[in-house]
Symmetry: C2
Subunit: 292 residues, 2 copies
């Protein structure tokens, strides 16, 4: 049995069918020290209860997933989204305060795709910047760092018009790094010819809010949202990206976030154990320059 | 009935189930003036026969599709690939000479994915550059322009490690633009935040060997290779990219290349007519700055 890396964190999306209690229990039972939570299971029990459960678990809180989805033009739907993002900021602050020392008040933002019937990707991207401008003061007041997540370009039209780490950094550039950072997720950016340069830039600019790992493998499943794999099960070389993140000074927890129907079908304890083992094998060797 | 744009070209991949004779006949019958051919149906009848058939059709030849697939390490498989690419260069030269005046000796190159069992995308990309270095003298001698095609990043691991137009231009930069250019295909690059800048750069550097159009729509089909649509049926705004191509001075034919099981199931004449109509509606208005 491999030792559990002290920095691995289970993103709750990896154990999709576990409720909050089960996710916390299985994560702690496996010897994993941190967890990233999703809004829906938190809201299912209510924020105050979720915070108390997290505190009881003894786990660190690594990120809150996820908010954003603000590419629509001005109007009631946009106002509802901005308001909901403010709720998410409060959730992230409350949960980070309830987690064990070392918890991070990070809120992951997925921009959203093209509004229905629109072909204006440039306009959609401008509205992402506008939304972050609206939310930044709230995040700053709550002590929360927003983490703009570039998603793989195959999701550009229907899920996230932010497609590269460089583009996320360009959006973040208008804001204080303590308030607006980026999500570095290997699955979404491994293919980018400029990925190492972009990670180094993110490090220089103090913007790596969270580092997330999972693997890419083809053929893609029919639902391309579910094409994420355990580290080591696909074609991503975790060495260069992980070393670039480490050398940037990033010292937070590292989440494994997997959407995969075959993995979700397993029992929660098995998923957590396999996640920790795959991380130890494929990612841990690159965390310590001496070990690598 | 819309007039057929004089610059639209039917890529033979759009009429996958037509043999060469039928593809030529249906394209000319619809009033389309140009065609891009695929190697397999050309080889089915033999190059000399194919060239004679093309000459008889009176059509211009816009590109030869496709060669490449040279990411593997040195060894017999790599030698076989390089040799086969030399055959493809000769095919492109012969076909362009047989086509009507205005034909273009352009050979589209798809790099290939990661070799089996490899996670070394950086090495694979270096081998693409090496292969083009080997082939460039043959292309120059044959008067053929190689057209490096960046494919959408969802194909980066299994089909093409060249994922952005900027990356293709970086590879091409070592070579004479008359010998090594790039393929600008809306489907593959529309999502790129730098797409317009990259097209402008391609124009400045004289590298736009071929401009190809089709549309992007979600959900993606189970086989993501078959997710290409008629211009206008998806979310791509053809205005900005097409105007950037036109303003670069590109004056060649513009291919519509679609892989789509529902479209392939139609009869060849219908596909050609619908392709020409969709081009006239979605692309032609952006070709003439006065009309746009």
């Amino acid at each position: 049995m491999t030792a559990v890396d002290p920095r691995v964190s289970i993103n709750q999306g990896t154990v999709k069918y576990a409720d909050l209690a089960e996710a916390l229990r299985a994560t702690a039972a496996a010897g994993v020290q941190a967890i990233g939570l999703w809004r829906e299971p938190v809201q299912e029990v209510g924020l105050a209860t979720a915070a108390a459960m997290l505190a009881d678990s003894g786990l660190r809180f690594s990120t809150h997933c996820r908010s954003g989805f603000f590419t629509m033009p001005e109007g009631p739907a946009r106002r509802a989204s901005i308001d909901d993002n403010r709720v998410a900021i409060d959730e992230a602050a409350t949960l980070a305060a309830a987690g064990a020392p070392g918890s991070q008040p990070v809120l992951v933002l997925v921009a959203g795709g093209l509004p229905d019937g629109s072909r204006d990707v440039i306009g959609a991207r401008e509205r992402v910047r506008d939304a972050i401008g609206e939310l930044a003061p709230d995040a700053a007041a709550a002590g929360v760092q927003l983490a703009i997540e570039p998603l793989h370009p195959m999701y550009a039209s229907d899920r996230c018009v932010v497609s590269t780490l460089g583009q996320a950094l360009d959006i973040a550039a208008d804001f204080d790094p303590a308030v607006v950072g980026v999500t570095v997720d290997t699955f979404h950016i491994w293919w980018d010819p400029d990925v190492i340069g972009a990670i180094e830039r993110a490090g220089r600019e103090g913007r790596i809010a969270t580092y997330q790992v999972c693997d890419w493998k083809t053929p893609l499943p029919a639902d391309v949202l579910l094409s994420r794999h355990y580290p080591g099960d696909g074609v991503i070389d975790f060495g260069p990206m992980t070393r670039a993140v480490v050398e940037s000074g990033y010292d937070r927890d590292i989440e494994v976030e997997i959407f995969n129907a075959d993995i979700w079908a397993k029992d929660t304890g098995t998923i957590v154990r396999e996640t920790a083992e795959s991380f130890a094998a494929a990612v841990s060797p690159h965390l310590d320059p001496v070990r690598a």
